[in-house]
C-alpha cells in the first residue's frame, strides 16, 4: 500500500546513484483509494518535511491534480484535506518504482515495496 507520504521519503540508494535518484517514478500502478480518518494537525506538522515538487509531480502522475504547483504559504482547511487525501489515502498496491537516475526498479507487491539492493549495488 505504498502511500505517497512514504514515497516522498524514499530515494534510490544504489551505490554511487546520487543524481536524479528522487523521486522514484511509479509505473504499472494498481492504485487503491482507502478513506482514512483525518488528522490535519499531523499533516500540518509534517509539511516542512515534504518535498513539495516531488509530491505534486507524483500525485499528478497518478491522476490526482488537486495540489497546487507551488506550495502555498499557509494552507486552508480544504487544502490540508486535499493533502491528507494525497498523502494518506492513495495506496499503490502493485507496480514499480523506478529510479530516474540509474534505472533500478523497485517492485511493489501486495503493497510492500522491495527495496533490497542487488549484490553489485551494495556499496563497499
Amino acid at each position: 500500500m505504498v502511500r505517497l507520504i512514504t514515497h516522498n521519503m524514499l530515494a534510490c540508494h544504489v551505490k554511487n546513484c546520487t543524481k536524479d535518484n528522487f523521486p522514484l517514478a511509479f509505473s504499472d500502478v494498481e492504485l487503491v483509494i482507502r478513506p482514512a480518518p483525518e488528522n490535519l494537525e499531523f499533516i500540518n506538522r509534517f509539511l516542512p518535511k515534504l518535498d513539495w515538487k516531488a509530491l505534486v509531480d507524483t500525485a499528478r502522475s497518478l491522476g490526482d491534480t488537486t495540489l497546487p504547483e507551488t506550495m502555498p504559504e499557509s494552507f486552508t482547511e480544504d487544502e490540508l484535506r486535499a493533502l491528507h487525501h494525497v498523502l494518506m489515502e492513495m495506496h499503490v498496491e502493485e507496480g514499480n518504482m523506478t529510479c530516474r537516475g540509474c534505472g533500478h526498479v523497485y517492485p511493489i507487491s501486495n503493497g510492500i515495496p522491495n527495496m533490497l539492493l542487488a549484490e553489485h549495488e551494495v556499496g563497499r
Partner: protein, 478 residues
C-alpha cells in the same frame, strides 16, 4: 495535592516508574512518588487531579486499580484515628449508595474477618445505604503484606492481619489497560512469529515511546510487527522495515493476499495507522532525509531465535560482486523474481551503535529511541550503552531490566537532545568491536548469540578466543 493509592502488578517492577513517568509526560501532568519503597504492590503517588488518575488507569498496563487515599496506618487503631480526624471527606457522599471492599497485597483476607473489618467503619456516618451491585461510591480497605510463601491454609491463616500497613480510601476505578494483555495476546493474533513480543512487554515498551495521535513511529527491525501494534493502539502512525520481507508478509503469497502484519493490524482496528511496511536493510536504507520520526521503537534481533543480518558477504569469503551476474539462461541473477541478495551477520555491538546513530539522524528533537538490549548480567557495565553525541539515555534507578538469570534484557530509552538532523550514519563496522584491533573490555551484549548458546561461559579477553567469540550466522547466499 491529593494522594492516590495505585495497586500495581508485581511483575516487571523495574518498569513501573518509567511507565508512570512517561504517561505523565504524554498528558503533561506532574506526578510525585510518595512511597519510599517503589517495588511494593501499593504505590502512593501525588497528583493534581482525578483526571490524571483516569489517564493512568487508561494507559498503564501494570496498574490494577486506583484509590484516593484518605487515611493509613501501621495498625487499624492508627488508621481509624487518622480517618476520624478527617471525617469531612465523606461529606459529599453522605447520601450516596456505597460499598466498602477489602483488598490486600501478597495475602487474601478471609471472608469473616473482611466483613468484621468493614463493620468497624460505621463511624464514617454514610447514610445512603449499601449497594453491592451498583454503588454510587466505593470505599476500599487495603492491607499490604510482606511477600512470603504460605502454602497451607493454616500458614495463610496464621499470617492474617500481620500486615505492614493498611490504607483506606475512595476507589476511583480499575486499570483499563490490563485487559490489553488478553485482547492483544500473541496467540490470538491473526499473524505472529516466533520472535513476537508478548503483549504486556510490548505495551510497556510502547509507553516509553510516548505514543499518541499525530505522531509517527518507526521499527527498523519490524519482523512480525509486535512493537507497532502497541504504539499504534495509543494513536501513533507507524511504519516498519525489515531485511526479510517474508516476516512482514507471512507464508501466503500471490496477488490480492494481505500481508500478515496488515492482517493483525486490521484485527486491532489499526489499519489506517499502519502507514507502510517496506523490505530493505536498514544499513542500506532508501530513507532520503532525517528529522521527521517521533520515535524509533524496536526489539533488535540478537541471535537466539533470529540473528541480525545485513547485506554483504562475510569477511574472508569472496568479495561482493562489482557487476551484475549474467546467468546461463541469459538473464541477470538479480532480475529473477526470487532473487535474494547475499547477507552477512550483523554483530549486535555494531548494530546497537548504528541504531543510536540512526536515531540521532531520523528523530525529531526530543524524539525517543526505545529498544531492548540483551546482556550477560555478569559483564554488564555502564559503558555498554554507547555514547553518541546528541542522544541521551533516560535511566531511572538501575534501569528497567527483565532478568532471566545469567542474562537479562534491558529496556533502553534514549532521547534526542540535538536540535539538528545531522548526517545519516555510514553503517561502517565499528573498530572498537573488531576483535583484531581491540584487547579492551567488550560490551556485555557483544557476541550474544554465541554466549547464549554456550551457557555464558566467562569471557577470556585474549585473542586466542577469537573463534569462539565470533557470532555465528548463516549466509543467505549459500
Amino acid at each position: 495535592m491529593p494522594l492516590y493509592i495505585l495497586r500495581i502488578s508485581s511483575e516487571h517492577h523495574s518498569f513501573r516508574i518509567p511507565s508512570l513517568l512517561s504517561i505523565s509526560q504524554v498528558f503533561k501532568f506532574p506526578i510525585r512518588f510518595v512511597s519510599t519503597d517503589l517495588s511494593r504492590g501499593v504505590l502512593i503517588v501525588e497528583l493534581e487531579k482525578e483526571e490524571d488518575v483516569e489517564k493512568i488507569l487508561e494507559r498503564d498496563i501494570l496498574v490494577q486499580s486506583a484509590t484516593e487515599l484518605y487515611a493509613e496506618g501501621a495498625t487499624y487503631d492508627e488508621l481509624h484515628a487518622n480517618l476520624r480526624a478527617k471525617l469531612e471527606v465523606f461529606e459529599p457522599y453522605k447520601h450516596s449508595t456505597f460499598k466498602i471492599t477489602t483488598d490486600s497485597c501478597n495475602h487474601r483476607i478471609p471472608e469473616p474477618r473482611s466483613r468484621e473489618t468493614i463493620n468497624t467503619f460505621k463511624y464514617t456516618g454514610l447514610r445512603g445505604g449499601v449497594s453491592m451491585k451498583a454503588p454510587q461510591v466505593e470505599f476500599m480497605i487495603c492491607e499490604d503484606y510482606e511477600w512470603e510463601v504460605a502454602n497451607t491454609p493454616e500458614a495463610r491463616f496464621a499470617r492474617d492481619g500481620k500486615f505492614v500497613r493498611v490504607y483506606f480510601g475512595r476507589r476511583i476505578g480499575l486499570g483499563k489497560a490490563r485487559s490489553l494483555i488478553t485482547s492483544h495476546a500473541v496467540n490470538t493474533r491473526a499473524y505472529y512469529g516466533n520472535t513476537s513480543m508478548d503483549a504486556q512487554m510490548g505495551f510497556l515498551m510502547a509507553g516509553q515511546a510516548l505514543p499518541g495521535p499525530g505522531k509517527i513511529m518507526y521499527d527498523p527491525f519490524v519482523g512480525t510487527g509486535s512493537m507497532l501494534y502497541a504504539v499504534a493502539h495509543w494513536g501513533s502512525y507507524v511504519f516498519g522495515s525489515d531485511i526479510d520481507g517474508r516476516q512482514i508478509r507471512g507464508k501466503t503469497k500471490g496477488k490480492g493476499v494481505r500481508p500478515g502484519i496488515y492482517r493483525s493490524a486490521a484485527q486491532y482496528g489499526l489499519e489506517d495507522r499502519f502507514i507502510d511496511c517496506l523490505t530493505y536493510d536498514v544499513t542500506r536504507s532508501p530513507i532520503r532525509r532525517g528529522g521527521w520520526v517521533d520515535a524509533i521503537i524496536t526489539d533488535p534481533p540478537y541471535g537466539v531465535r533470529a540473528g541480525a543480518k545485513r547485506l554483504g558477504r562475510r569477511e574472508g569469503k569472496k568479495p561482493l560482486r562489482e557487476a551484475p551476474y549474467l546467468m546461463e539462461d541469459g538473464e541477470y541473477s538479480h532480475k529473477k523474481p526470487d532473487y535474494l541478495p547475499p547477507s552477512r551477520p550483523y554483530e549486535l555491538a555494531n548494530l546497537t551503535v548504528d541504531l543510536i546513530l540512526l536515531a540521532r539522524w531520523l528523530l525529531v528533537p526530543k524524539g525517543r529511541l526505545v529498544f531492548f538490549l540483551p546482556t550477560v548480567n555478569e559483564d554488564y557495565d555502564e559503558i555498554d550503552i554507547p555514547l553518541v553525541e546528541g542522544m541521551k539515555e533516560l535511566k531511572i534507578g538501575d534501569g528497567s531490566v527483565q532478568d532471566f538469570g545469567k542474562w537479562g534484557r534491558r529496556l533502553i530509552t534514549m532521547e534526542k537532545t540535538a536540535t539538528d538532523d545531522g548526517e545519516p550514519p555510514t553503517f561502517e563496522d565499528h573498530d572498537e568491536f573488531d576483535l583484531k584491533k581491540v584487547d579492551g573490555k567488550l560490551p556485555g551484549h557483544f557476541g550474544f548469540r554465541e554466549r547464549y548458546l554456550t551457557g555464558f561461559r566467562p569471557r577470556k579477553h585474549d585473542k586466542t578466543d577469537d573463534v569462539a567469540l565470533t557470532p555465528d550466522g548463516e549466509d543467505a547466499s549459500e
